[in-house]
């Protein structure tokens, strides 16, 4: 639990660094969407941010005595990951954000749109898992 809260605080610090330093919101879906297609003068910092995201996660995993083997404990079906990814791509672009942009940054801005978005994707995510895990035999 302490690790989860501490990890969350780091995520909050990361978003603070980007807002204070660059005047930008650390929304991860937006980082991707705004590179599709890349805009001149606006692409490099997004690429560096995403590179940092990978390096940071890799660095932490590398420093662990036991590599993250548990992550693949119950391996995901590739088709579910692909299909879920497509729906996430459409949904986050249409809705203008995800867990980081609407959740972590939007709520901190006291944005009504982000409150509503976060509530919707949390509840719909819960309903989706309920259907997949408990209703489909």
């Amino acid at each position: 639990m302490l690790q989860a809260i501490l990890g969350g605080v780091l995520i909050g610090v990361a978003a603070t660094v980007l807002l204070a330093g660059n005047g930008r919101l650390a929304g991860n879906s937006g980082m991707l969407h705004r590179l599709l297609p890349p805009q001149p003068g606006d692409a490099m910092w997004r690429i560096l941010y995403l590179l940092g995201l990978v390096l940071g996660a890799g660095l932490y995993a590398w420093l662990q005595p036991q590599p993250a083997a548990a992550a693949a404990a119950r391996a995901a079906h590739p088709l579910a990951v692909l299909l879920g990814g497509v729906i996430v791509g459409v949904g986050t672009r249409l809705g203008g954000g995800c867990t980081s942009g609407h959740g972590v940054c939007g709520i901190a801005r006291l944005s009504l749109r982000s409150f509503v978005a976060t509530l919707i994707f949390m509840v719909v995510g819960m309903l989706t898992v309920a259907v997949i895990r408990h209703l489909i035999p």
């Binding site: 989860a4 990890g7 969350g8 605080v9 780091l10 995520i11 909050g12 978003a15 603070t16 660094v17 980007l18 807002l19 204070a20 660059n22 930008r24 919101l25 650390a26 991860n28 937006g30 991707l32 969407h33 910092w45 560096l48 995403l50 940092g52 995201l53 990978v54 390096l55 940071g56 932490y60 995993a61 993250a68 992550a71 693949a72 995901a76 990951v81 990814g85 497509v86 996430v88 791509g89 459409v90 949904g91 986050t92 672009r93 809705g95 203008g96 954000g97 980081s100 959740g103 972590v104 940054c105 939007g106 009504l112 749109r113 978005a117 719909v124 995510g125 989706t128 309920a130 895990r133």
Partner: protein, 145 residues
Amino acid sequence: MTGFIALISGLLFGVGLAMSEMINRERILGFLDVAGAWDPTLLFVMCGAVGTTLVTFQWLLHRRPFLRQQVSTQEALGINPALIIGSALFGIGWGVSGYCPGPGVALLAVDLPAAIIYLVGVIAGSSLLWTFMSGAKPSGSSNCG
């Protein structure tokens, strides 16, 4: 400098995601599985993250009003259908895949095949929507930086 700050921010975000196990889809699905053995980890992560940003963002946005204008450009759109439908779709995709975009990217460091499959999907979905909506501006894109 802008690039360096972005890199540092991404690094911190990535360490945070890995430390809090948000790149482990079982943690995500466990949180969303309210009808099963509920896993509160994601709630603790959100509390740590939003607890931090609530304080720092409010401080920053009050001290620098121009920042508030810069990051709130979509607020005038209000609660529109794009926001509602998009967020609901995101919830479905999140529950189906077990990943949201941040962990999906960070996953490249620890589970390359799954990360590539997921990101191919996200990029395809995003590009597809962009093609359909080209000309019309998708809702609320400023919420994502």
